[in-house]
Symmetry: C2
Subunit: 138 residues, 2 copies
DNA sequence: TATCTAAATGAGAATTATTCTCTTTTAGGA
DNA sequence: TCCTAAAAGAGAATAATTCTCATTTAGATA
């Protein structure tokens, strides 16, 4: 993801393009494994030591509100952030803090068909996310 | 769920039966919609005004460790608790803080078969929980 | 291009959920 | 009934996040 692409993402959403927002989005895209706010802060302070912690939280909030980033909650109640906006699921390792994205369009279609038939009365489904818990083989 | 049942649950897990633990488990079973620690504290303080906040957190931790209660992950950063231990999914309302349990054995079987065929290499699945996001019809 | 203003940032205090420490109490086995 | 490890109480400590308000800035407009 180039700087130009990141800039466009912000502009498309009507968000002002600031160095802080660029740095934070860049950090989320570069840091793998769904970084925490702290991971992001550590990362961007290398290049932008003057960025305020509060700004990072405020920007993260704005990015989530504008659907440029997703929040992911872990078993250990720490909030993490995910730059992959395409519908996808998560594999949670129960032995480490790894969360792996899992994209499976066949599964998505299966689920969509299932719930179309099922038609939960009184509930309109917008999105389905699987939390698949288990362990990665060593 | 009777007091006797709750008591048995604690005993089965080798946990000492204390009034605090009884009250907290009772609160989780009585409070609907996946209470937060704060909800639980407010609820039990009516009957047990002297219970310490720290004790509630400690007991919740012990209950989760002993699989008498589950933690529920939400998009927001407050932890919520669930006394239903049977495998089930959640319907998250995006317009309110309602989280409804969703039990569907047909779906569970479908998913199990799907992943048996799929056989994610390098990952051993223990549990699958669906976060179904949407809105309840008004 | 210069100006203007609402929006964004910085700095650090404030808040809030949760954990920790240490003393006292208690459940339940001997 | 006694004993002891486990649990609870009290409140301080911690850590993540939010808030406040003064200053700066992006980008729309003239």
């Amino acid at each position: 993801m180039s700087s130009e692409d990141i800039k466009n993402k912000l502009t498309e959403r009507g968000l002002k393009v600031t160095p802080q927002r660029m740095a934070i989005l860049e950090a989320i895209y570069n840091l793998k494994n769904h970084p925490t706010a702290e991971n992001i802060i550590d990362y961007i302070k290398k290049m932008h030591p003057n960025i305020a912690t509060g700004t990072v939280y405020k920007v993260l909030g704005a990015l989530v509100d504008n659907r440029l980033v997703k929040k992911v909650k872990t078993e250990n109640d720490i909030m993490r952030y995910d730059g992959v906006m395409k519908s996808h699921h998560h594999l949670y390792c129960m032995e480490s803090d790894v969360i792996k994205d899992y994209v499976d369009e066949e599964l998505d279609e299966l689920l969509q068909n299932y719930f179309e038939k099922k038609n939960l009365p009184g509930f309109k489904i917008e999105d389905i996310v699987l939390q698949v818990k288990g362990t990665f083989n060593k």
